[in-house]
């Protein structure tokens, strides 16, 4: 598979390396790096810089007895077991056509867990979403788009990042394929259309409100007014 051509700006990699991104954004950057050798290498270097910057901070003393209590925990628990290893492995998802199982890490583990708790929901004709958000100001979702289908025309009060996982989509600005990240900044209004011939799977993170125009916008406002969303 060819390398992606649409990347996030350096400040995203820098913030990721330093641990300054929220979990949804961090997951997107790390998953893009799984497709993109160039960004993976840059991330490695930025992580080394970040580790060096930690050494420039004035160390803060730990509390008296901290080491002893940690050693006691190690002794007590048989702490050799890595708790992450005890999570159930990601089995086949419920009727998702194997979408989750084909996702690259680190996205797959997160999506597998949430897919067992939440249903896919229909956004519009041929567009389904799996909410991956944690209920805060940042929204995140997996999107499944039938070929040729479009997400209704919308704008954003904050940036929106969309990482293509399978297939591709295009809007008035460019075409995006696997590993590409489409960045829609504040004030960009667009209508992403899935390319013909193949289902498009993407991971989208919205850092502000998404506002739809036309009928979808009316329905969105009506749903909110009725307390349905």
């Amino acid at each position: 598979m060819s390398e992606p051509t649409h990347h996030l700006g350096e400040e995203w990699l820098i913030a990721q390396a330093g641990g300054s991104l929220g979990p949804a954004e961090a997951l997107l950057v790390a998953t893009h790096a799984a497709f993109c050798r160039r960004c993976a290498e840059r991330l490695d270097r930025y992580e080394a810089v970040a580790a060096g910057l930690v050494e420039t901070l004035e160390p803060l003393p730990m509390e008296e007895g901290g080491l002893q209590s940690l050693l006691a925990r190690i002794d007590a628990k048989g702490a050799d077991a890595d708790p992450a290893g005890s999570m159930a492995p990601a089995g086949p998802g419920p009727e998702d056509g194997g979408i989750v199982a084909r996702l690259p890490e680190p996205l797959r583990a997160v999506a597998a867990r949430l897919a067992r708790e939440r249903p896919w929901t229909r956004l519009s004709a041929g567009i389904e979403l799996l909410d991956l958000g944690t209920g805060g100001a940042v929204q995140a979702a997996l999107a499944r788009m039938e070929p040729g289908r479009s997400i209704p025309h919308h704008g954003h009060s904050g940036a929106e990042l969309t990482l293509v996982l399978e297939g591709g989509f295009h809007d008035h600005r460019a075409s995006y394929g696997p590993g590409d990240v489409a960045v829609a900044g504040v004030g960009v209004w667009h209508r992403p259309v899935a390319d013909p011939g193949e289902v498009c799977i993407a991971y989208a993170v919205a850092l502000g409100d998404v506002r739809f125009t036309g009928l979808p916008g009316f329905l969105q406002r009506a749903r909110r007014a009725l307390g349905l969303s």
Binding site: G9, E10, E11, W12, I14, A15, A17, G18, G19, S20, L21, G22, P23, E25, A26, R38, E41, R42, D44, R45, Y46, E47, A48, V49, A50, A51, G52, L53, V54, E55, T56, L57, E58, P59, L60, P61, M62, E63, G66, L67, S69, L70, L71, R73, I74, A79, D80, A81, D82, T134, G136, A137, V138, G158, A159, V183, G185, V186, L207, G208
Partner: protein
């Protein structure tokens, strides 16, 4: 207990020896040395990321516990101890301390950083690159280091850095470029062939 050098003077080879001792022999004395060197630094990093004193203490403990559990995953041929351990702390921070507001990077006004050549210098191993970068960071003028900390640890756009520090926006941009130039030179990549502004 082994007698210890003062924190901050442990050299990289010694740190790698300690972490391997933890991995291979579950050596608690070696772990104690690592704790004394890294836990206060991890705590400082977490405070810098916005944790209060209590959260920073607890999370630093969790980070060191994870270091104990995952020491077997450290490979000294692939990684420097500082970077490996920092990655554990960073991931803990992302999961545990939910960032309060999303980053505000403007795609129309990107951070201009001199691009890397497409072929990284094959003469340097990944570990050597990490060590050179860390030495270069330690040698940065303090005003440049502070701006880097703002970008890495606060995820601020350069506009926000200017607002936060009171440094004019143009100066923020040029100082960050200078800092990254120094880091690039430390890898032996001079601003020569194949380099272009992003």
């Amino acid at each position: 207990m082994i007698s210890e050098m003062p924190a901050g003077t442990l050299d990289r080879e010694h740190l790698a020896d300690l972490l391997e001792a933890v991995a291979l022999r579950r050596d608690k004395s070696a772990f104690a040395s690592l704790y004394r060197h890294f836990a206060p630094r991890v705590k400082a990093y977490l405070r810098r990321q916005g944790a209060d004193s209590h959260e920073a203490e607890e999370l630093a403990q969790e980070v060191m516990l994870t270091v104990w559990r995952k020491a077997g995953q450290f490979d000294r041929r692939q990684a420097s101890v500082s970077t490996w351990l920092f990655t554990v702390a960073r991931n803990k921070r992302i999961d545990a301390l939910r960032r309060e507001r999303p980053v505000a990077f403007d795609p129309a006004d990107p951070l201009l950083i001199p691009a890397e050549p497409e072929q990284p210098d094959a003469a340097l191993s990944q570990v050597q690159r990490a060590e050179r970068l860390q030495e270069a960071v330690a040698a940065l003028p303090s005003d440049q280091a502070e701006l880097l900390r703002q970008a890495f640890f606060a995820g601020r756009s350069h506009r926000e850095i200017a607002e936060e520090t009171g440094v004019p926006l143009g100066t923020v941009k040029s100082r960050l470029r200078l800092a990254f130039d120094r880091l690039k030179r430390a890898l032996g990549e001079d601003g020569g062939d194949g380099v272009e502004d992003v």
